[in-house]
Amino acid sequence: MADIERLISLGMSRRAFVRLAGAAAALPIMGGLLAACGGDDDDSSDADSGGSGSGGEATSGTGTGDATADTGGGAPTAGGELIVGLDSEPPTLDPHTSPSAVSFMITCSVAETLTYLTADRELKPWLAESWEASADGTSYTFKLREDVTFQDGSPFNAESIKGNFDRIIDPNFQAGSALASLAGYTGTDTPDEFTAVVNFEEAYAPFLTYTAGGPLGIVSMKAVEELGDDFATKIVTTGQFKVESYTAKDNVSLVRWEDYNRQAPWAESEGPALLDRIVFKFIPESSTRVTTVETGETQLITGVPAQDLARLEDNDDLSVEKKLWSGIPRILILNTSMEPTDDVNVRKAVSLAIDRQALVDTVFAGIGEVSSGMLTRAMMDDESLSQPYDPEQAKQLLEEAGWTGDGTREKDGKKLSFVLNVVDPGSGPPPEAQLIQANLNDVGFDCQIKAQARAPWYEDNYNLATNGPLMFLRSGDYDGLYAMFHSSLIGKNFNFAGLADPEIDAMLEQGRTETDQAARRALYLEICQKLADMAIAAPLVDEYAVWAGKKEVQGLMFNGYTYPQFGMVSVQS
């Protein structure tokens, strides 16, 4: 302002001054945005996806072991209110349109699904009492419960399933993650009132896992028609909680549905949930969010940033819950179609050169662990997959591959260069990129970080124009590997390795026909081992979903997709 006073004193007319002040006043808009993006991005569950997002199931995961937030004494009592701080506002509550993890953190307690996936990856009956896959894996028959009604009183039956699934694949409907859950869906037959036969073009075994996922939550078609666009914030379902009110940019409030008459898959007895009400507040700024759980303004929060984690863990009033996300971990994909990563020895050297423990100790301190394979430990925990850190062996492999010299290695006069493709969400490239760059340069690479906005990041990946993107993919089923490594998806989402290997293709296709869970696991373990042998990618870090809550909050459970289940939660006073 001193400047303005000076301008006035210099004889600038008042109107000119008014204009100048106007121009100056416009600046905070831009400055403010940058700060807000930077501050918001490192902890927002779906916004910083390093380019991931969708895939099998854009934003679903699988956790380890059911657990409660706290195991302190006291029998659970009904009643009370729980206030939960989320890191962003869901784009919609409609499970069929949302691509966003934060939607499912809410809707998993509202909408029910055909099956329920436990944290131990076991499918249990929910809206379906039993189910059966046809021998060829293209058709799935569900026997539905007959005692279910929607919260608006409309009946639940096979037509509801048909209506829901037809809605998702309707080309005039913009589906979110749900669309991938129904890949190749041709229709639902309803031979009788409580039997639904879901058909696919080709074998699609992952569908069974996806029937338990948030995106295929079953909603009242009557409400869909009656509410129109308002349905996005007033979903009507069959679940234990109903949407009471939705205040944009502030909160969504759920109330217990008193007429819930069944035993939920996680519950010990029949009947409605314990809590009277759950209020989800949207608090994007992480420091503010953390403060609210300390003051008691919220009793539970998600998206705890690494720098605040230790403080919350030291707080005697709070307990911190960490659950591994499932799917493909933070991973460095290696482009097999471009020099020098077209050479398997170079790819192996890359993987050997990266110090994963250092990543976990610094950038991912407390919010991740060293990754072992192409799938996170939540899905595939097998020691045979572990990836060693051995820079000496990396150097040796490079020597054998003909890359020699001190400093940056060369071969036939060409430098050993590596272009690392990362998303810059507006706040700079992710810090792990610099660590990886240093690791690679230590063994003789000339690693360049190509930090760019998301759209060109994707374009480079479709064109296989860099040596590899840094990314992750949340997926509730092993089939996430299909999206990553099947040759039909080169130039699309997400075969960014440019891998066209007939054997891998065949195995990934077989995985879609195999409906026996044990056989599937064995098959995908073999796929993971093969991919590791070929060094198609360097898996880095398995990340946690982190929740911090007051110790009074008890009974919090997580489903197999790492989403919270609030049916058994109580607040001890």
């Binding site: 006043a25 918001d40 909160n251 994007p284 503010t288 003051t295 906005a453 759209a455």
Partner: protein, 307 residues
């Protein structure tokens, strides 16, 4: 006066057109395919991509795209949000009241604190009070609002538990964000009030008033402040625009609903129609406030109309 008004109205037309071109160009200046960017995390079929292209008229020649954009916007149709599927106008309408309340509250705080500090500093020029007031003003200007906001949350929510840290709604939720917003603006008002007051206090009519034996408070409030108010009123209009912009940060820090939150979320979610709509709306609001200030200024000071 009528001629002045018409002149000023006409002169906003190029500004509005310029703004509309800039907002329209946003979509085309981002690197990469805008459709790809918007649909990044959605699973989409080619039909949906085509549909979205058609919906945004991206399949038409550029001039036609622009014409449609402007014609629709002029009729209050800013298109649909990609994420929420709701009309952009509805999104703005729902979020506007909360932002206006915050802005007005911030402005009120800025005026009360800023003018008090400014008057004290001018009247007690070159004393410790002047120094203290100007140091406060300096701090207010220098301190980034997100930092001040976090400090207030730390103090008044975490330590004393007087006010909630987040949310919209009643008066209690308004206090911390409004103070954060108002303090920054108060500094500017304080400095301006001080300098114009100093100017006025040296005028002969003030000496005359004093010579007549009027009480000091009457001289300052009735004679000096009234005349010193004119530039301050001008800056108030502009501050209003600035405060509106400041809510972008404040609303995010305090988890408060409003236009600021809306645009931050829209940017992070690559919801282009929504971003375009809000930017256009804020820019137009700014132009209107500017116009209003110019007119008000002309009313207050007849010499302006001749200029």
């Amino acid at each position: 006066m009528g001629r002045f008004l018409i002149q000023r109205l006409l002169s906003t037309i190029p500004v509005v057109l310029g703004v509309s071109i800039a907002v329209f160009a946003m979509l085309h200046l981002v690197p990469g395919d805008p459709i790809q960017m918007m649909l990044g995390e959605f699973q989409t079929s080619p039909e949906q991509v085509e549909k979205l292209k058609a919906q945004l008229y991206l399949d038409r020649p550029l001039p036609e795209q622009y014409l449609r954009f402007v014609t629709n916007a002029a009729q209050g149709d800013l298109g649909y949000s990609i994420r929420s599927k709701r009309p952009v106008m509805d999104e703005i309408r729902d979020n506007l009241p909360s932002t206006l309340v915050l802005t007005l509250a911030g402005l009120a705080i800025a005026v009360v604190i800023g003018m008090t500090l400014g008057i004290v500093a001018a009247v007690k020029q070159n004393t410790w009070a002047d120094l203290a007031a100007m140091i406060m003003a300096m701090l207010g200007v220098s301190m980034p609002s997100f930092w001040l906001g976090l400090l207030l949350i730390f103090g008044f929510s975490l330590k004393f538990n007087w006010f909630p840290a987040t949310g919209g709604g009643d008066f209690k939720h308004l206090v911390l964000p409004a103070v954060t917003l108002g303090l920054g603006a108060s500094a500017i008002i304080a400095r301006l009030t001080r300098s114009t007051m100093l100017e006025v206090l040296r005028q002969e009519y003030i000496t005359t008033a004093r010579a007549k034996g009027l009480r000091n408070s009457v001289v300052i409030i009735r004679h000096a402040l009234r005349n010193a108010m004119i530039p301050t009123i001008t800056i108030l209009g502009l501050q209003f625009g600035q405060l509106l912009a400041g809510t972008v940060v404040i609303e995010t820090v305090f988890g408060r609903p409003g236009i600021g939150r809306l645009i931050v979320a829209a940017i992070l979610e690559k919801d282009f129609p929504l971003v375009q709509g809000i930017v256009l709306f804020i820019a137009l609001a700014y132009v209107l406030i500017n116009l209003f200030v110019d007119v008000l200024y002309a009313v207050l000071d007849p010499r302006i109309r001749l200029g």
